[in-house]
Symmetry: C2
Subunit: 216 residues, 2 copies
Amino acid sequence: MYRLAVLLSGRGSNFEAIQNAIESGFIKNGKVVVVISNRADARGLVLAKRRGLNALFLDPEGKSREDYDREIVKLLKANGVDFVLLAGYMRILSPYFVKSFKDRILNIHPSLLPSFRGLHAQRQAVESGVKFSGATVHFVTDRLDDGPIIVQSVVPVFSNDDEDSLSERILKTEHKIYPLAVKLLTEDRIEIKDGRVIIDWKEPEEFFITNPELGG
Amino acid sequence: MYRLAVLLSGRGSNFEAIQNAIESGFIKNGKVVVVISNRADARGLVLAKRRGLNALFLDPEGKSREDYDREIVKLLKANGVDFVLLAGYMRILSPYFVKSFKDRILNIHPSLLPSFRGLHAQRQAVESGVKFSGATVHFVTDRLDDGPIIVQSVVPVFSNDDEDSLSERILKTEHKIYPLAVKLLTEDRIEIKDGRVIIDWKEPEEFFITNPELGG
């Protein structure tokens, strides 16, 4: 059973989707052992406590990025954490943190990477006029919104979309692909090879779990 | 009836798809009045002649980019061309050319722009490890593989794909979306607004013509 940590700063809807997937048995080989927020008022913390999970606010006030991250890493190691899941965590990780959990930190980004890195990815997509966008679960590296891609989802972008309507459409798919990525990870079905993720799909249909429409 | 020019350098499979769409009546308001190649041996020229079209090889040998483009623009104007369709045309257009046909030149690129601009877009996609790629029809501006996006298509990328297998999958969708873009263009259903293309979709289903799987 892999031990998972979730880092969040806000509503924690992706954390919720992952925890639901654990409780429903979709994710069988992992459990959340600690939820950490850099914001005291994160709704995600409330959700975690309500689920009976170990949920902590760690105050970054007055600490350097690395000092703060050293505290977190210490806490993660004390909890025997195997994988770290960033779920709306609004801080950039220090190289120290990334190195401490090399190839063991996941993030989700609301675009079809490598398009639209950084903040307001959905607004970037709307403003650029693309006809499709989506979400990406990827391993975290030292480079922002980069790193080997595990799974992606695709959604259409319509002429009358704004940032909110597109965000909502993408978010629904985030709640499917992040649990899927965690499932694959905790079933040891993910391999990083030449900087790319190779997934051991058990059946062709699985690939399309997040985009059943593409399954033909 | 809009007068179309096609510029190509190779096999001309996208030209063929467009010409088929004209002959079948899918594109009703446009006809190809001239096909120009910068390569004497382009298969596309042979195809065009076989279809009874005005097909010309224009030799770039010993001419500057702009001098060559001035010749082409002259030829296009002499033929009363309204829109220029780049279909595997392996030359970068001079600013003079782009300005002469501002917002009237289309190109197709084998990626989900803005990802993977430039050459070997399919190889870039495979090497980057993305799980979806596709094709993009866009207006041509001074910037390479940039400009307002008209339509896009999406295809999955599998772990065992190589450049060839992905290219083939994307190409099939190119042959759907380029004719669709030309149809929309020649029916005056495309508007550029704040750098984005707004399309007057006649029915919701039309949006999904290229990606019926996404239509639900």
